[in-house]
Amino acid sequence: MSTSELLEMRDVHVTYRTSEGELPAVRGVDLTVRRGQIVGVAGESGCGKSTLASTVLRLQAANAMVSGEVLFDGQDVLTMRWGDLRAVRWVGASIVFQGALHSLNPVHRIGAQIAEPIQVHAPGLAEGRVRERIESLLEQVGLDPARARSYPHQLSGGQKQRVMIAMALACDPQLVVADEPTTALDVMVQAQVLGVLSGLVRERGLGMMMISHDLSVLGDLCDRITVMYAGRVVEEGPAEQIFADPLHPYSAALSAAFPRVGDPSARFAPSGLPGDPPLPWDLPGGCTFAPRCPRAAEVCLPAEPVLTSYGEGRAAACVRIGQPDETQHHGSPGEVAS
């Protein structure tokens, strides 16, 4: 309980070693989560957000090289001894995994799977107390406590995701990392699950790092948002502002891709972003977003823009902010990049 910074990531790089060479997945990310704060991480598939999340509990794949610092409560998770890491895992920080369908073990009962971290970290706890705890956790996520005796295949997708949430709260962690907690669910269930999750996190004053590709979800739930593109942070700031008034053209595109409910103008003009994110082994020179950027110009090409402060706790990495559009002088973004 030394600082108000619960999680502090400093210049985190993650590179995968593969047979085809080295793939840089995360390239120098800084991110801070304070106690009681919900921080969103947004970006398309492959932008490195899940890889970043895996470093919080040092769960990255065996072929991943990680550098930088991931400070949990002031201690570096990446270099700490196994005994300390074990204490951080699930007691300090827990994860609500993407795709609850496969994150639960099919051959164990729900109750046993929720009980497992409690038994691992508090081995002396009486069996009756563990059972009471499981029942109360299931009730908190809106499930019948009798479900503890069910197997995962007997539950629906939304119920499984709630079990994951109950499991994540089992050891009263200070930080919850939610890695696309609702991707596999339909919209109605999504809203319920997100409501349960954020409600419990707020109620307990926990810190949360919430990863999603859906900026509209993050805009509603989070205090701050970090937008990632091709392994780097392109914009960072208060959630409402990033969603309502994005600085970076990529944030703007993400924001426009998910129209807000109740906004008729957005509903009739949904806009996607053409093209795909760059491949990690073939990053374009200069600004990595330039080939897809509607505002790309000559100034974007020489160097990759650095994250620059724009006041009010906002920062973005784009050299075109504040510059006028010169749409007449260049053709399609593709030509600029070539």
């Binding site: 007691v91 827990s94 496969h102 051959v107 497992e116």
Partner: protein, 349 residues
């Protein structure tokens, strides 16, 4: 505020479509499997009966080797064994006799087949049972260690050895073991007996006799174990390798479990499912392996009884040993199925 409107307090318990657990449970699973086994058993009886009726050669003439030539003698023989009756009547008699434990009289030994089988069953059960248990336990252990440390020296050595053993026919492996450890080679003397189940001068019912029998079983059990543990270790290794990428292992690691707990509670538990199936399917091959191994090591078991019966040919002995061997395989498969139901909750509901 769009999605945050879903206040957690408003989410009532079980507000989404229900997937109720169907409580059919293990009892009905067991019932189904037992019924299935009874069906297999009956089908096996039918095959067992007709297989020996379509074999070429008339029993009376084959057994007489040309000497039993008069019409009256042939007729008397056929009457003794009921061969003059129509086939369907023979089949009904066969069913009746089988269920009352009468398996016919051996033409070779002049003894009831049921008594012969009872006498010869013990060595075979000892051989097949011990080898199956040893092969499964050792094979599964090697497979787990190999897959969990894939690419390690241990993995490379066990995979290489397993592939070599897997390629060997068990009778050849048995002969090699007899040559190396029974007869002895170069300056090394032979240690183990080369065949049989008892030494002639030892009372088989004394403690010394039991130890003597165990000593005799070392080489044949080793042969069968080596021949099948290779199979099981390769299968366990590949099913565990398939589990390694599963998301629930990442969940287990994130919970702070030790590597060994992640392996044993989560990965191995799931990898055992395909292995159980293969072990069950393999029991039939182990029984056939036992026949050749018993022949190689001259062990007076069911296998040797069957091989000897083929030479004569002693139909009722053959029929009886086939019956017992098939029933044994069906029973072993039933046990494996019941075990599978215990291991995997998904097949029960």
């Amino acid at each position: 505020m769009t999605l945050a409107a879903a206040d957690p307090g408003l989410v009532t318990a079980e507000s989404e479509p229900e997937v109720r657990p169907r409580r059919r449970g293990y009892a009905s699973y067991v019932g189904l499997k037992v019924l299935g086994s009874i069906g297999s058993l009956f089908f096996m009886l039918v095959v067992n009966f007709f297989l020996f009726r379509v074999l070429p050669g008339d029993p009376a003439h084959t057994l007489g080797r040309g000497r039993l030539s008069t019409e009256a003698q042939v007729e008397a023989f056929n009457k003794t064994y009921g061969l003059q009756q129509p086939v369907w009547q023979q089949f009904l008699t066969f069913l009746h006799n089988t269920f009352t434990g009468q398996l016919g009289i051996s033409v070779q030994y002049r003894l009831p087949v049921s008594q012969l089988i009872a006498d010869r069953m013990v060595p075979t059960i000892l051989l097949v049972g011990t080898s199956t248990i040893l092969a499964t336990v050792i094979g599964v252990y090697l497979g787990i260690r190999g897959a969990w440390g894939r690419g390690s020296r241990f993995d490379k050595v066990t995979t290489g050895t397993s592939l070599t053993l897997y390629a060997m026919p068990e009778w050849w492996l048995g002969l090699l073991l007899i040559a190396a450890l029974g007869v002895g080679f170069w300056i090394f003397p032979g240690v183990f007996p080369t065949g049989g189940l008892h030494s002639p001068d030892v009372d088989p019912n004394s403690l010394k006799g039991v130890l003597d029998t165990t000593w005799h079983l070392v080489l044949p059990v080793t042969t069968l174990t080596l021949a099948y543990l290779a199979d099981y270790s390769l299968i366990m290794r590949s099913s565990l390798l398939d589990e390694l990428g599963e998301d629930y292992l990442q969940t287990a690691r994130a919970k702070g479990l030790r590597d060994i707990q992640v392996r044993n509670r989560h990965a191995v538990r799931n990898a055992l499912l395909p292995t159980t199936t293969i072990v069950a399917l393999n029991i039939g091959f182990v029984v056939s392996g036992a026949i050749t191994v018993e022949t190689v090591f001259s062990i007076p078991g069911l296998g040797l009884l069957a091989t000897d019966a083929i030479q004569v040919p002693d139909f009722w002995v053959l029929q009886g040993t086939f019956l017992v061997a098939s029933a044994g395989v069906i029973f072993a498969n039933l046990i494996a199925n019941l075990l599978y139901g215990l291991l995997d909750p998904r097949v029960r509901t």
